[in-house]
């Protein structure tokens, strides 16, 4: 291999050569620059290859023919090779990107650029502390110079502020180095480490000075105002390099220094890191300038990696895997985002809506925010998993909670930004891109995915990019150019095929979920045939969600479970975002979901007690005092998905505003993921107690309240789909109630619910969507009398509401029957009453649904509408048939499950004798009930027809009224504010307390951040003051501790 010193030598030779060229020969100069950067990259690549594939040993590079500490030495080992590769490659891509600016400024700028990249490599490779200082000064000067590449005039003042602060930093660094030299007698880092600097006179203070100076290069809070100004005003490609390379090099320098200081300085690093991470993530919330926000994000990520370095004592050999995973995800993502920012004309976050016409850029953006948020399959996901498991295993819960909080805030503003891109008005100026710029962005995206594959391979667990469902979903990205119906067919075929192949592997419980997810999903996809064109972006998102769901039910290990959970969250977020008014709802959905996901992550990590992963089935082996906490964490996490009361505010908007064929998917299928998780949890952990409180009892109460309040809120809704969404909250409350009863029949009922709810909710949503499509509105008071024009939809809704309400003969009744049996065998009286109460309330809104839409008077503007499109009606009719079948022969579904449940709850099962089912309290004969009801119905119907012949037909407008014309026409419609008396009586129960709570919380964070960011008042002198104050505070904290 080439001597790594040539990285430095080549850069310097080229820089000096450039000085000799004529000013006009810019093309030659640029070619030399690129060639040198390519050469440097190639050296790094060859070393990485040597270490990774051939197992070469680390190399010490001596200079001047003498050995350290009498001469300077460099080191090339795997970390150095990988880090220099990151630096050189970003340098090369950045130089490609900013071809125009480099040409404008000429060969001097190119020479400075080369030296900057070389200096970062030098910082990484050197083993001599004074040499480190020299390279840092090179970095400082070249940074100050390269900000001039910007076309923003303010870059000049940013560069100057940087110079001021770097002067102060170098004072401390020099003093520290010299006193450390005096104490140890050597300038070599390894030599100093061996000399135990802390024990020598003046050692602590000198180490502290060096440490704080190098940490300052990492831009810790609050001494980082200068960095933000550079990020905001510099050329975007330079900011990309600054973020990726400078942070990387500085972090490695701090890591080297920590070698000298020893383990007692690790908590300090952790403390500074976590404060920076949280503060910068919060301060990013009120930002509107895109580059400044990216700057805050960069600083936050550096803080996070510093925390990882500070946790070296427990992370041990995994430190490189975790630190690198986070670092490399951040570097690639940040560089990519800055490069994209160079393509967008405006500087507001909302100006990025211009990206909308460019699928490639959207995909790039999504990949980048996925990398930053730690979503699978990127390296930061694997790194996050490892970090959390170590922290939980060692009991550092407070730190873990802080890290996850910061991560949630960061994900929040990143996804908010994505919402702006997809939903805001596109600005006047379009994207402008040259091939150079696109090259850099594409390279970043490719690198990100390739690294995700690599990290998966290195993880020792499943490589997510090799899992079939995920690959299937990702393949739709490549197929997005096909027409929608082709993709739809492929999707349906794929899901059914997967189900057919894996059919035999499922136990009865999982089989139910598998049927609902795969076969049920295929049925709902039938409705998507109604779409025209290509529907770009729909299929990857939907398939991602289904892939996550499919992986979820097949997961036996905690890692796979969690990965599947996050995948389905992300996929469903993209689906929900597609609705026209969905921007705020999708955001609250993703925040709640990610919050829940983090709780699940913590729960799993605590349960693992330090192991890399564990079998979910072994959750049953957990004992107190750990077990109840794990139970609570996992339960709350799953309940965010089922929208239990208190965590429900995202659901009405998300499901209500989603597209016609998306609402059934998310309401009918996605909510079941949470139920599945709760099933698994309760199956393995059973009843748990915390401080004497029975946790399943608490769950029971939550379920009862969800049922009651969800149904109550539904009856006051004007919007048909929101009504159905609130109804889902109530129904999930029922299912949760059944689960929490912890007896045989309760679980049976919950499972029956899972099936029934899927069928009728999908059907109702499709019907509502079909009606909304034809009438152009979702408000029920604007409709009426549609029974004659849309008979199929009417039948579907009629069957649906009969099923939901639990009236015989349909399957809802069966569910009710099992439910009452279940409750009777327990002694929870008050929750029982509440849940009973919820039943008739549900009927109120169901009645409203059918009455206001289909019965009553037909509006003028709706006289000519047709039935809903064929493809939307077809699934509804399938569901009607299914409901009938399940109603008459419930055993098809339930019998095997009943037997399966015997292993958990041996008593209390049902007895199946032929067509009749009996329990301890009574019996139920579905066929008989159906026959009876049909006979009665038929008789009455025939009589009605007979009597009707003599009826006098009254035309619609054969009415008269006098007096004033109402100002708000809807107030005269009978369907508006349908349940006004109930609102007067019970309205107090549906005050938006929860919405106000969450709203107040986010407002508090925003206002706090807005006030705090005034700290950065733009004055360079103040920034120097901040730095010195930071030094003093940290010093006194250190001395005090």
């Amino acid at each position: 291999m080439v001597n790594a010193l040539y990285i430095i030598v080549a850069a310097l030779t080229a820089a000096f050569l450039l000085g000799m060229l004529k000013e006009e020969r810019r093309a030659t100069a640029y070619a030399i620059t690129l060639a040198t950067l390519a050469f440097m990259t190639w050296i790094s690549v060859s070393w990485v290859w040597a270490f990774a594939q051939e197992g070469a040993a680390p190399v010490e590079i001596f200079t001047a023919g003498a050995v350290p500490p009498f001469a300077i030495n460099l080191r090339m080992a795997l970390p150095e090779a990988a880090l220099t590769l990151m630096v050189n490659l970003s340098g090369l891509l950045a130089a490609i990107y900013m071809k125009d600016s480099l040409f404008r400024l000429g060969r001097s700028a190119m020479a400075v650029f080369l030296v900057a990249v070389m200096a970062y490599c030098g910082i990484i490779m050197t083993r001599d502390i004074f040499n480190l200082f020299v390279f840092f000064e090179l970095v400082a000067i070249s940074t100050a110079g390269l900000v001039l590449l910007s076309e923003d005039e303010r870059a000049l003042s940013a560069g100057f502020k940087y110079l001021i602060v770097s002067q102060v930093i170098s004072i401390f660094l020099l003093l520290g180095i010299v006193f450390a030299y005096h104490a140890t007698g050597t300038l070599n880092i390894d030599g100093m480490a061996n000399a135990s600097l802390g024990l020598l006179a003046g050692g602590t203070i000198s180490f502290f000075m060096m440490f704080i100076a190098l940490v300052a290069e990492l831009k810790p809070f609050p001494a980082n105002g200068w960095a933000l100004d550079i990020y905001e005003s510099a050329h975007p490609s330079y900011s990309a390099l600054f973020s990726a390379a400078a942070g990387t090099a500085s972090l490695y320098a701090v890591d080297k220094l920590l070698l000298i200081g020893g383990a007692e300085w690790l908590p300090m690093a952790t403390g500074i890191g976590i404060v920076t991470f949280i503060a910068s993530s919060l301060l990013a919330l009120p930002q509107t300038n895109d580059r400044r926000q990216l700057g805050y994000s960069s600083i936050a990520q550096m803080g996070l990696v510093l925390v990882v370095l500070g946790q070296r004592d427990i992370l041990g050999d995994s430190t490189p895997y975790i630190a690198f995973g986070l670092l490399v995800s951040h570097a690639v993502a940040k560089a990519g985002l800055y490069w994209i920012s160079g393509l967008v004309a405006g500087r507001e976050l909302t100006d990025w809506a211009a990206l909308r016409g460019h699928p490639l850029l959207i995909f790039a953006f999504v990949s980048f925010i996925g990398m930053l948020s730690g979503l699978p399959p990127f390296p930061s996901f694997y790194a996050k998993w490892e970090l959390v498991r170590f922290l939980a295993g060692e009991g550092r819960i407070a730190l873990l909670a802080l890290i996850l909080f910061g991560a949630l805030v960061e994900a929040g503003y990143l996804f908010r930004w994505f919402g702006y891109i997809m939903k805001r008005a596109a600005p006047a100026e379009p994207i402008s891109c040259t091939p150079h710029q696109v090259t850099a962005v594409v390279a970043a995206v490719a690198a990100g995915w390739a690294l995700g594959y690599l990290w998966g391979d290195l993880s020792g667990r499943s490589n997510l990019l090799l899992v079939l469902p995920l690959l299937f979903a990702l393949s739709f990205l490549l197929l997005d150019w096909l027409p929608a119906w082709v993709k739809n067919t492929l999707a349906i075929a794929g899901m059914l095929a997967f189900f057919a192949f894996t059919f035999a592997e499922y136990d009865p419980l999982r089989l139910i979920f598998a049927v609902i997810i795969l076969v049920g999903g295929a049925i709902i996809l039938l409705a998507s045939y109604d779409a025209h064109g290509r529907r770009v972006g729909f299929y990857p998102a939907a398939m991602l969600m289904y892939a996550g769901l499919a992986m979820l039910i097949r997961a036996t290990a905690s890692f796979d479970f969690f990965a599947a959970w996050e995948i389905l969250t992300v996929g469903s977020y993209f689906l929900i975002l597609r609705g026209k008014q969905s921007e705020p709802h999708a955001l609250s959905y993703i925040i709640f979901s990610l919050g829940g996901a983090f709780l699940i992550l913590t729960g799993f990590a605590l349960a693992a007690q330090g192991a890399p992963q564990f079998d979910i089935a072994s959750l049953s082996h957990l004992t107190a005092p750990l077990a109840p906490w794990v139970f609570i964490l996992l339960a709350v996490g799953f309940m965010t998905k089922t929208a239990a009361i208190g965590l429900h505010i995202w659901l009405p908007g998300a499901h209500g505003e989603a597209e016609t064929d998306v609402s059934p998917m998310v309401s009918g299928i996605l909510l079941k993921a949470g139920l599945y998780g709760l099933f698994v949890l309760l199956m393995t952990m059973g009843k748990q107690q915390l401080y004497g409180v029975e946790l399943t009892h608490v769950m029971l109460w939550i379920a009862a309240l969800s049922a009651l309040l969800g149904n109550l809120m539904a009856i006051f809704e004007e919007d048909a789909k929101r009504l159905l969404a609130y109804s889902s909250i109530g129904q999930m409350g029922y299912a949760l109630f059944g689960l929490a009863l912890m007896n045989h029949l309760g679980w049976l009922m919950a499972l029956m619910f899972v099936i029934n709810h899927y069928i009728y909710k999908s059907m109702l949503f499709l019907a509502a969507g079909g009606v909304a499509k034809r009438t152009g509105t979702r408000d029920m008071y604007k409709m009426g009398g549609l029974i004659t024009l849309m008979p199929f939809s009417f039948i579907a809704v009629l069957i649906g509401i009969i099923a939901v309400s639990g009236v015989p003969p349909l399957s809802g009744f069966g569910g009710r029957w099992i439910f009452y049996n279940a409750i009777l065998s327990t002694d929870y009286r008050l929750p029982l009453i509440i849940t009973f109460f919820a039943g008739p309330i549900a009927f109120l809104y169901l009645f409203r649904l059918i009455h206001t839409i289909f019965l009553g008077q037909l509006k003028d503007e709706h006289r000519k509408i047709k039935e809903a499109p064929f493809w939307i009606v077809l699934p509804q009719m399938i569901y009607v048939a299914l409901l009938m079948v399940v109603a008459i022969f419930p055993g098809i579904v339930l019998r095997r499950v009943d037997t399966y449940l015997n292993q958990f709850f041996p008593e209390g099962g049902l007895n199946w004798e032929g067509l009749e089912i009996s329990s301890n309290y009574g019996y139920w004969n579905p066929v008989a009930i159906m026959i009876v009801v049909c006979v009665i119905f038929g008789t009455l119907f025939a009589w009605l027809l007979f009597v009707n012949r003599k009826a006098q037909k009254v035309k619609q407008f054969n009415i008269g009224f006098s007096a004033e014309r109402p100002y708000r026409p809807e107030t005269t419609h009978f369907a508006w504010n349908f349940f006004a008396p109930y609102r007067k009586a019970l309205g107090f129960l549906v005050q938006p307390f929860v919405t106000r709570f969450w709203g107040a919380l986010t407002d508090f964070l925003h206002t706090g951040a807005d006030l705090s960011r005034r700290l950065y008042n733009g004055n360079g002198q103040t920034y120097a003051f901040h730095f010195i104050a930071f030094v003093i505070i940290v010093f006194f904290v250190r001395m005090g501790v």
């Binding site: 010299v178 300038l187 100004d229 733009g1018 360079g1020 002198q1021």
Partner: protein, 118 residues
């Protein structure tokens, strides 16, 4: 002797920092930084000094054989050379920036250059 030089160096650093943090005129800030840099250099040089010894040059007065017993520590002198040059480089850069900033805004008050903030 070394203590006097070191103490003076520290005092210079403090004076320089005080000047840099309280003066609003950019040119005065730069001068203050120069003072601070000088202070740092003094401290570095003072570190190497050993009482009763002479400069690290091998000539008639100090031969190669007795060098180890007669000369002071040469390393800080090498370090300070680099430090001085780097300080000059940064100062020159800051002066050039000051000129450009003045050209744009016709003021040397650091508090006026706050377009980038929050």
């Amino acid at each position: 002797m070394a203590y006097i030089a070191m103490a003076t160096g520290f005092i210079l650093i403090l004076i320089g920092l005080f000047g840099a943090l309280t003066n609003r005129n950019i040119l005065r800030m730069i001068v203050a930084f120069t003072v601070a840099d000088t202070g740092v250099n003094m401290v570095i040089v003072a570190i190497g000094y050993m009482h009763g010894r002479t400069a690290p040059i091998l000539d008639v007065a100090v031969s190669a054989a007795e060098a180890a017993a007669r000369i002071i520590d040469p390393v800080p002198q090498a370090l300070v050379l680099t430090a001085i040059v780097i300080g000059v480089g940064v100062t020159a850069l800051m002066l050039a920036y000051t000129y450009k900033l003045y050209e744009k805004k016709r003021t040397l008050d650091i508090a006026q250059f706050t377009e980038l903030k929050w």
